[in-house]
Assembly symmetry: C2
Homo-oligomer: 337 residues x 2
DNA sequence: CATCGCTTTTGAAACCTTTCACTGACAGGA
DNA sequence: TCCTGTCAGTGAAAGGTTTCAAAAGCGATG
């Protein structure tokens, strides 16, 4: 029965009706008499008919998918953002595909090219470089793009992000409140916009508290991973007692978890000898052996909003670009008690 | 210049050549004279021409993508498997799209239907129910399917998995070696094939060591999450001293991390009062405050192999289905010292 | 100049679906 | 009986790309 790739034509012939009728069964079943419809449907099942989405799309001009080009599929933060997007896509009866750029510009470019050729409804992206010109070209040619968790210098399309300066500020204010007067800021590279902003917020809060800038120690890392967090911990241990900070603000939770592990492993108590605060509030932060204080970003909300912006842009002819900024929130736990 | 959706026809007209020549520039540039090629390419850039992948695919009959329908995009285990698939897809110059079924059969079905309509080269899937008949239908109609990290009762297509009975055995043998004579097995629900197999391996190892089955305490959980791990820890604390196990084997790392957190938080030392062993060896296992002993699965390898099987099936006419089983490996760390 | 061999270019057909103006058939009303 | 309106079904056209046989162009050779 099952025929390799039966088409509407085959179905029509086998059911003794015209092409148009088969198409109507598929797309407007109410315009076909019940008896005919049933016969056609039976034939479709027998022949193993599967609609050819390429042909349909060619005719329709647009696809039924949304795409998210994610920066690092292994980072729980991004998978949560993706879950938010997925929710919104579900509501709009679109399906979401994830593409992983793994922080590599060449992979990102390849994915973008294919997505544009596929005429996806819209592209959500956390780009390797938010100011890359390739994004402009694609947007100008008509595919809606929304930048997620990054901002651009020129505001020529929608972006959704979180106020990272405020986040850095919240973290340091919290530590100052707890009485810390010598604090490390751990993170890098500062070429990443987020890292830069969080540092800036940290410095501003420190200055506002009237503290000496020299007592806010910046500890640069090469990446934001657990391993880098451990190595930062070793560098911290190496400092002489009086120069050693009593607290550390890590610009993401992976760093914080690494630092936490290294500290406990080398016999220091957290928060007694070293208070630690992270950023992102990923699920593993609350689950750490010493539950981690962290700056929470509304990541699900971030994804949901980004998706609704891209949908608006693709459907509303007089769409206006927006820059949505969310507010981060401090979640205090045992690591800074 | 930029025209909304320029087609090869528009390019041909603007460059003063025929359709066929434009197509040749795109697909066989060597057959076009340098001067013509250059002119056509310039016009394409001016017009903002973007190849219509639907039309191309309609003609070609197949697409350039591979899809992985992942069970839970938030679980680091699966993102690592996906990274392995991605590697192999890259090598074959295919692009990989990820679809998240989020453990829901309806979402899985929707994704599968669309992927089949899109005529993807192949589908990799960690299914909600490996024995679901929908998979057979799709495979029978000609889309190669490979089941990842699950096995099927009927071996009618390729599967790639890890020997979970052996994994359970390794974990319990390790604990017995360390002198434990009263051990908890934490996990569930046992309707999941993997969980069932790991339990079975654990029991077999226990029996082989000549120990009393009553001293292998099974602690069922409703899901395999950090929160469930914590709650299992509370139940464990509630047991009277002599009945309380000295070690726990958790059937995945999320459970183990939750149990670890709860134990330390309530003042028990690990591994002194309770040794803990997990399963999967996700990155956060090594990074826990007490580094976690775990059973490692070759997850990258798993993905890579699955991708190469699906590619083989889609290209080699006399492909034979294979059931590949990998061997897990114990990674001993401080939590079972 | 005719012929040959080679490279470059052409134009039509094919891929499969959807749409839409149209035909037939039939029932009800005048 | 004739007309009108409704409903079911029809068939051709369109959408953009690739392929392939055939044509054209062109320099060299006899």
């Amino acid at each position: 029965m099952t025929v390799r790739n039966a088409s509407v034509k085959d179905v029509a012939a086998a059911a003794g009706v015209s092409l148009g009728t088969v198409s109507n069964v598929l797309n407007r079943p109410d315009r076909v008499s019940p008896s005919t419809r049933e016969r056609v449907e039976r034939v479709m099942a027998e022949l193993g008919f599967v609609r050819n989405e390429s042909a349909r799309q060619l005719r329709a001009g647009k696809s039924r998918t949304l795409a998210y080009v994610v920066l690092d599929a292994g980072n729980p933060f991004f998978t949560d953002v993706a879950a938010g997007i997925d929710d919104a896509a579900d509501d709009a009866a679109l399906s979401l595909v994830l593409c992983n750029s793994a922080n590599r510009a060449d992979r990102e470019a390849a994915h973008l090219a294919l997505l544009e050729q596929q005429r996806v409804q819209g592209i959500l992206i956390t780009p390797v470089d938010p100011d890359a010109v390739a994004l402009d070209l694609i947007a100008r040619r008509g595919t809606p793009i929304v930048v997620v968790d990054r901002t651009r210098r020129v505001e020529d399309f929608c972006t959704v992000s979180v106020d990272d300066v405020l986040g850095g500020r919240l973290a340091v204010e919290h530590l100052v409140d707890r009485g810390h007067r010598r604090v490390a800021v751990v993170g890098g590279p500062t070429t990443i916009g987020q890292v830069h902003d969080r540092y800036a917020g940290a410095r501003a809060a420190w200055a506002d508290a009237g503290l000496d800038p020299d007592d806010l120690v910046e500890l640069a890392t090469e990446a934001m991973t657990v391993a880098e967090g451990r190595s930062a911990g070793e560098r911290l241990s190496g400092l002489p007692g009086r120069r050693r900070p009593t607290a550390a603000f890590c610009v993401n939770d992976l760093l914080a978890l690494g630092l936490l592990q290294q500290s406990i492993g080398s016999g220091r108590s957290v928060p007694g000898d070293l208070a630690i605060i992270g950023y992102d509030d990923i699920e593993f932060a609350a689950a750490a052996a010493v539950p981690l204080t962290s700056v929470r970003q509304p990541r699900h909300q971030l994804g949901r909003t980004a998706a609704s912006l891209v949908l608006d842009e693709s459907s509303d002819p007089d769409h206006r670009h927006q820059q949505v900024t969310f507010t981060p929130e401090l979640v205090a736990r045992a690591s800074t008690l």
